[in-house]
Symmetry: C2
Subunit: 76 residues, 2 copies
Amino acid sequence: MIDPEGPVPLYEQLAAILRGQIERGELPPDRPIPSVARLQQEYGLARGTVLHTIRVLVDEGLVYVVPGKGTYVKAR
Amino acid sequence: MIDPEGPVPLYEQLAAILRGQIERGELPPDRPIPSVARLQQEYGLARGTVLHTIRVLVDEGLVYVVPGKGTYVKAR
DNA sequence: CGGAATTTGTTCGTATGTATT
DNA sequence: GAATACATACGAACAAATTCC
């Protein structure tokens, strides 16, 4: 799913994956996306890379973060 | 200038300092702001923290980055 | 109420790659 | 080629908020 060799940054590849899951409804509105630790394990990425991805999606208005709880798909 | 003990994140403190210097004209438009390494030394911050600050200011449209050259105050 | 577990937030350190001068 | 500077990515640590028992 993630290609560490390609020219596309890892955080961007992960962002694309999550965008797709959100748009296809696999991650429904007001439901949490997998935790940072989960995404880290699942895609073999470093924590910083996952956090970078979350920041990107928050900036895009796709998700919102509740500290100590989780990151949720924004309803729209 | 920067308080490592306070509740305000260091990157936000640094961003506030740079915003002030830009607004007061101490950092003129289309002129480079101090390098990441310089800010790092001057304020005793880590590289990642300074980079975070730069990202914030870029997102706010206050500065723009020219890869391999420097970070410049955006003219407006 | 106390404490452990979970999750996000912030920070530091380091390394590699890429672009410009 | 060398120096400078930003971008990405790894690892690690501690703090804060939340939840559950």
